[in-house]
């Protein structure tokens, strides 16, 4: 790689102070630091530093997301051909899905990095890595047929209002990816809810494939008696039908692109936990919180939605994806270890509660995580306050 290094060193002076391309320094810096870990040495404090940096951290998350992405691409194709009653092999399905998903990823990165680049130019620094992960997370939590311009607007909104006005990577209060989704959810509700979850749904030829998600179907049962025929029709899908436990676990159900397969998500979770990038405390407590709430509902059994077995409940919708990739975002989650337990538990707990209690929003995980993002500093405040009072108490007893 010596020749690349020589090129980099040769063109560098042009971008530095006084060089003729000085105004493109941010762009140059971004590319150089991508290709090479820079030659910066320690100036103060510890003379040696850990090999970890933000680029590698973010790349680990992207690697962890890959199974979800690949499965999601296949799943988009799978349901397209299934719903339209066509036979197709795996490759065809995958290619169809890729035709849907890749443009979304390209738009997401182009718009998101574009906005970040404007701020990098303004503040004269290289691109920060935060959006590398958000850029792939956002398409994964969208329906396959979302118009690309809506995606672009949502990304621009989330990066600009969610992050850059707070000061950039590490300074945001709300999870960027979820904020983008929430934006679409409230600004263009018809594009992200209802019977839109199967790509290019033509004539419905296969029974039961309405283009809704499992949770959308369940939400339609609320307010009707458990014994009514409509509700029974929905509930049979959960036995051995489309939304069976095994289908939900493997992910062969309609939904947002990356959220359906618990298996793919768990592979990602394993990568994040082995590398220690994501907090196991948040994941465990999130799961426990969700399980607790769905067990309570299951025991109460007041409507068809509640009668769903707890584990099955957790395999649906965005619960698993939110648990592994959204709630664990270190910037927006609680920062103290004790706080993480509380934060994760409540996010899981409320997620299931919102989902079941509010049929207007068939999925509650997004809103519960965003809500807990806002509550996280308060949780930390009380945890830290505990430490402060312990210190004060010690002072008094001396």
């Amino acid at each position: 790689m010596k020749f690349l290094e020589n090129i980099v060193k040769k063109i560098k002076p042009n971008f530095e102070e006084g060089g003729k391309f000085n105004k493109y320094l941010s762009l140059y810096d971004t590319l150089e630091t991508f290709l090479f870990t820079p030659d910066h040495t320690t100036k103060s404090g510890s003379h040696i530093r850990d090999a970890i940096d933000l680029k590698r951290t973010m790349m680990m998350v992207i690697i962890a997301l890959t199974p979800c992405l690949l499965f999601g691409i296949w799943n988009v194709g799978h349901f397209h051909y299934l719903a339209n009653g066509m036979e197709a092999d795996m490759m065809t399905k995958f290619l169809f899905g890729a035709g849907r998903v890749l443009p979304m990823i390209i738009v997401s990165y182009a718009v998101g990095l574009g906005v970040e680049m404007i701020f990098a130019f303004k503040l004269k620094h290289g691109l920060h890595e935060g959006y590398l992960v958000s850029g792939i997370l956002i398409p994964l939590i969208m329906p396959p047929d979302i118009p690309l311009w809506i995606l672009a607007v949502a990304v621009a909104f989330a990066v600009l209002i969610g992050k850059e006005i707070f000061g950039g990577t590490g300074m945001n209060i709300l999870n960027i990816a979820l904020l983008a989704r929430a934006f679409v959810f409230f600004a263009y509700p018809t594009k992200i809810a209802g019977e839109i979850w199967i790509s290019d749904l033509g004539e419905k030829t296969v029974d039961g494939l309405t283009g809704a998600t499992a949770l959308g179907d369940l939400a339609s049962t609320v307010g009707r008696g458990i014994d009514t025929p409509q509700v029974q029709a929905v509930m049979t899908k959960f036995g051995d039908g489309l939304y069976s436990m095994s289908n939900s676990f493997y992910g062969v159900i309609p939904g947002s692109i990356g959220e359906t397969s618990a298996v793919a998500i768990l592979i990602g979770a394993a990568i994040l936990l082995i590398t220690g990038i994501a907090s196991w405390r948040v994941m465990v407590s999130f799961f426990v919180g969700g399980f607790a709430m769905s067990s309570i509902f299951n025991a109460a059994g007041l409507n068809a939605f509640m009668t769903l077995p707890p584990l099955h409940q957790l395999m649906l919708g965005g619960f698993m994806f939110g648990m592994v990739f959204m709630a664990t975002d270190p910037v927006t989650s609680a920062q103290t270890n004790k706080g993480k337990w509380i934060y994760g538990f409540l996010a899981g707990f409320f997620g299931i509660m919102f989902r079941v209690f509010n049929p207007a929003y068939p999925e509650g995980i997004m809103l519960s995580i965003l809500f807990m993002n806002i509550m996280a500093p308060t949780i930390d405040h009380y945890v830290v306050q505990g430490n402060i009072s312990k210190r004060l108490k010690r002072l008094k007893t001396v």
């Binding site: 290094e5 530093r49 090999a51 933000l54 290289g126 300074m171 430490n387």
Partner: protein, 450 residues
């Protein structure tokens, strides 16, 4: 009676070039430099002019805020130069050394007959006082204060650090004499922080032993105090290290300021890493000349976590007992082969994103590369793994950055020093210079309280 302290959080970073337990005499150091900047917050006032003849133990300058606290010459010779920095601040006092040292002589310190005040008076005028420092702030101890206790850490867990028990062997009498002096200085107790399994310090009397086990920073005095009896706001703890105790002890016995120091020269850039006999304030070159390998190395006075970058003509730090030499890392690293996306075998990381967690006892040859770029705080929970205090490090750092003095006090800044944040700084994904931040916070607070 001894108390056991077990430190669980932390990390021993093993570097290549650890010292053999053998001692050579260092080269004769033509100059000795005492740097006022080694003493936090000190404003020096010169007592001598350039050209004056001094003996070992002759006062060079004193503390402007307390003219009884004297700083003395480690050797006899001629005061050659008062080195000044910006705004004519004194940054070094350079003494050209005689071949044969002659000493200022007194009758020593008779601990039994002197009162505490007389003892302090005698120590100050002998130039022994700067050897004792205080927490919080790590400044030279305030002689008007009564410290709650005095701590003497008797082992160093930093990378490539000297073995304190090796330094004490053969000097037991002086060490005991030094401890006797310290016991007289406090109404509380003198605690020796001894590494579990080290029997060298069993023989000493008049003190209490704290048996400490665990990884770095178990040897840091702040960690030992925190796990024994944490400092409360308004309290003062004094501390000093083994070599300083020896100097005090030798003075107590013989009445001469014996500035002998044993300094470890170690690290990847050293041919034969070992111990050297020299004197306080000696130039770095007295140790390093002819001992270093060819190549681009950084010389550090102190350990690689908290030390200062020096050049051969600089003096060894006043309180330092090691010189570390490690490769400079000022080269680009291609992202797939050596950089951020490489497999990373042979790279040290506390994060499991590199495979180094599979080989916890590996010895590393680490350079000074930052291994990334500076960012805002993103990751959480990583500092806590190497920070054995009941303190929230990230919140404390943010309070300091925000200049919120009340918050700093509440979050426990009095219990820490910059050196305790060395490992959090090493592991920080965002490459923030945390020690600098903590130093600034302590400095702001110290000035606020003056």
């Amino acid at each position: 009676m001894s108390k056991n302290i077990r430190i669980k959080k932390g990390k021993n970073i093993k570097l290549v070039g650890s010292p053999d337990q053998s001692t050579s005499d260092a080269r004769f150091s033509e100059y000795h430099i005492i740097k006022p900047t080694d003493f936090i917050g000190l404003i020096p006032k010169m007592e001598l002019k350039e050209g004056a003849h001094v003996k070992a133990g002759t006062t060079l300058f004193h503390d402007k805020l307390n003219d009884k606290i004297k700083f003395v010459s480690p050797v006899s010779g001629v005061l050659e130069e008062i080195q000044r920095g910006a705004k004519r601040k004194i940054i070094g006092v350079k003494v050209k050394a005689d071949k044969e040292i002659s000493y200022e002589s007194t009758s020593g310190l008779d601990v039994n007959s002197l009162s505490r005040e007389q003892l302090i008076e005698a120590m100050m005028s002998a130039g022994l006082w700067p050897l004792i420092r205080k927490r919080p702030f790590s400044t030279v101890a305030d002689p008007f204060e009564m410290p709650r206790d005095i701590y003497v850490p008797c082992f160093d867990t930093a990378p490539l650090a000297p073995s304190m028990s090796y330094l004490v062997k053969g000097n037991e009498k002086a060490f005991q004499a030094g401890l006797d002096v310290l016991t007289k200085l406090t109404n509380g107790k003198v605690y020796l922080g001894v590494q579990a399994g080290d029997g060298t310090f069993n023989a000493f009397s008049g003190i209490e032993k704290l048996t400490v086990s665990g990884p770095h920073p178990a040897g840091n005095v702040g960690v030992q105090i925190h796990h024994h009896k944490p400092i409360n706001q308004g309290e003062s703890i004094w501390y000093t290290y083994v070599q300083e105790v020896l100097t005090i002890g030798k003075y107590a016995i013989a009445g001469q300021y014996d500035a002998s120091r044993v300094i470890v020269l170690a690290g990847a850039g050293v041919d034969k890493p070992r111990y050297f006999n020299t004197l306080q304030g000696a130039t770095v070159s007295a140790l390093t000349n002819g001992e270093l390998k060819d190549g681009n190395y950084r010389i550090i006075s102190g350990n690689v976590l908290t030390g200062t970058k020096v050049y051969p003509d600089d003096a060894i730090g006043f309180y330092d007992s090691q010189i570390s030499v490690i490769p400079e890392g000022d080269n680009l690293k291609f992202f797939l082969t050596q950089g951020w996306l490489s497999p990373g075998f042979g790279k040290f990381s506390m994060s499991r994103a590199y495979p180094s967690f599979l080989t916890p006892n590996k010895t590393y040859n680490l350079d000074t590369n930052l291994n990334g770029e500076s960012r805002g705080f993103v990751m959480t929970g990583e500092m806590e793994k190497v920070f054995p205090f009941d303190i929230y490090p990230m919140f404390l750092i943010k309070a300091i950055m925000a200049g919120d003095i009340e918050k700093m006090e509440q979050l426990g800044i009095y219990e820490v020093d910059a050196e305790d944040f060395a490992l959090p700084e090493v592991v920080c994904t965002s490459k923030i210079n945390i020690q600098e931040v903590v130093k600034q916070g302590l400095e702001d607070l110290r000035i606020e309280l003056m």
